[in-house]
Point group: C2
Chain length 352, copies 2
Amino acid sequence: MRTEDLDTPAVLVDLDRVERNLCRAQDYADRHGLRLRPHIKTHKLVRFARWQMDLGAHGITCQKLGEAECMAAGGIADILVTYNILGAAKLRRLAELHARVRMAVVADSREVVEGYAATFTDPGHRLRVLVECDTGAGRCGVQTPREALELARTVAAAPGLAFAGLMTFQPRDATAATEAWLAEARDLLAAAGLPPATVSAGGTPDLFRAAEIASATEYRPGTYIYSDRMQVAWGHGTLEDCALTVLTTVVARPTAERAILDAGSKVLAADTAPVPGHGHIREYPEAVIRGLSEEHAIVDVSACPHEPRIGERVRVIPNHVCPVVNLTDRVHLLRGDRVEEIVPVDARGRVT
Amino acid sequence: MRTEDLDTPAVLVDLDRVERNLCRAQDYADRHGLRLRPHIKTHKLVRFARWQMDLGAHGITCQKLGEAECMAAGGIADILVTYNILGAAKLRRLAELHARVRMAVVADSREVVEGYAATFTDPGHRLRVLVECDTGAGRCGVQTPREALELARTVAAAPGLAFAGLMTFQPRDATAATEAWLAEARDLLAAAGLPPATVSAGGTPDLFRAAEIASATEYRPGTYIYSDRMQVAWGHGTLEDCALTVLTTVVARPTAERAILDAGSKVLAADTAPVPGHGHIREYPEAVIRGLSEEHAIVDVSACPHEPRIGERVRVIPNHVCPVVNLTDRVHLLRGDRVEEIVPVDARGRVT
């Protein structure tokens, strides 16, 4: 089967580009003595998690227990869930995972640690807990290195927990500030007899500057496997690295300036990027996707040297690839123009 | 089971509110002699399509053949697909649907009509085609009443097609301009011996002003069944009409001003609204969801008279409810606080 045989819209994944992206990241990590722990939220496929492990990844990262359950069932044996796990139902599921694979989780508050401590009580099989640090991104995390130390002490005091280190999802373009924060926390911890075994940073935009965060021992990139328009706008690689595209059909040409594609926010996702428009049309780089409704892309083709015709098929690089994967039930794996396999997105829609 | 027994995030649907929303719309349509043809893209549930039909809807609207196939399999027998259907694969599927249920589709170009004409050739069982009109929304549709007439003639000239009328998805707050456009087209068509049997307008924002589009014989609201924050901002009802909420847990309180919920863009969708923030927290109306990452909502609680605590559960009214439904595999149907049933979203992810 070839791409011309596919109905549209269809989510395509170029395996050659995936391979290049995976190898480039692993090479960088190896060269700089960093352990790679890819975040599987981007691809949500067991087979790609295995590929990442085969290339040298130290383990994987998940954001949801449902993703971790899916990956553990697929044979991945070392999983960090970078999320505060709260509530009886989730703690039960975490315990089941912890019984089967090498698990670690994060915490940024006493309340979250208390939930772990009440659930995990076996000093012979401790749950590994990293303290999440807000090094400037303004999401989760303790606010200061001193708070990190306090929370690490709370973790270390629980018989069934092991303080495993520090974790941050640092802001973009702030490697120096991130390093200053983490180094201070590491030194405080070391002085208190709690040296962090792991210092984990993450994010694709700064993947190839990860070594500037000298305290980091591991790095968790996610989007790098496919890349997208947003990553390119932020300076990570080029559009030639983007491995995931959405194959669409021009379904209308209402005016000379306007073309309509059969892919809207339910396929391309509504995420905006630091550049105008809702995606990059490979065949019409001058075109601007100026709006998405749920099932239509509204494209301004006035700057294009030639105009797309009704029925023509084009490939769109999405602004943000992660929600695109989470919207689609299946992806089409390509070598060149040949569809090698159509596979379900294993961990799609695992919301809890 | 009660809502407190559910893990989060969970998509909840209040059946009492749904019933009120459905009845109010059907009453309005009945009072004004309009046929109601609800768009099922919002709920994607066979049971709710049946409920709409039982209350008096004339048929349903779908945006994708996959949705229509799902609804036809569920016993819905009158379906309008408001989408240009192009390409051999889709035309084959359309023919299968046309053999089983009363189908209609739209066209806004000669190319699309040619596809229909080549596929549907039986004068004894014509495919009904409405001409889509761009009355100002700037998406699909012929641009002028005269173009509508020309395309209607093309449809009528095909032995296997029947010209069934006009269809528009009109801009908001433009009932007078929409009526002027449609009345002119209707008169041109009537004078040419092609009076449109159906003139179909749509959109929830102007649902209760639909009668101002006097030429319209039918109306296609979608979002009205659940409503959302965007509809309320546009003047359609109040937050008390919003029937779908996302149950979430406060998973972090990194600072006095900041709370983090376990629902991000993969549950709430990234759609923005004409009011600030990414959703309305029912228990904390002064809170502003100022950002979403994929699995987190970042909430500014500085204006709240009391602060949410870690582990507390809150319900969020999303900005735009349609993509939320398309992201979730199941919805929880409630009467009051009791979970009556957990049902799969029948037509979720039907992208083609």
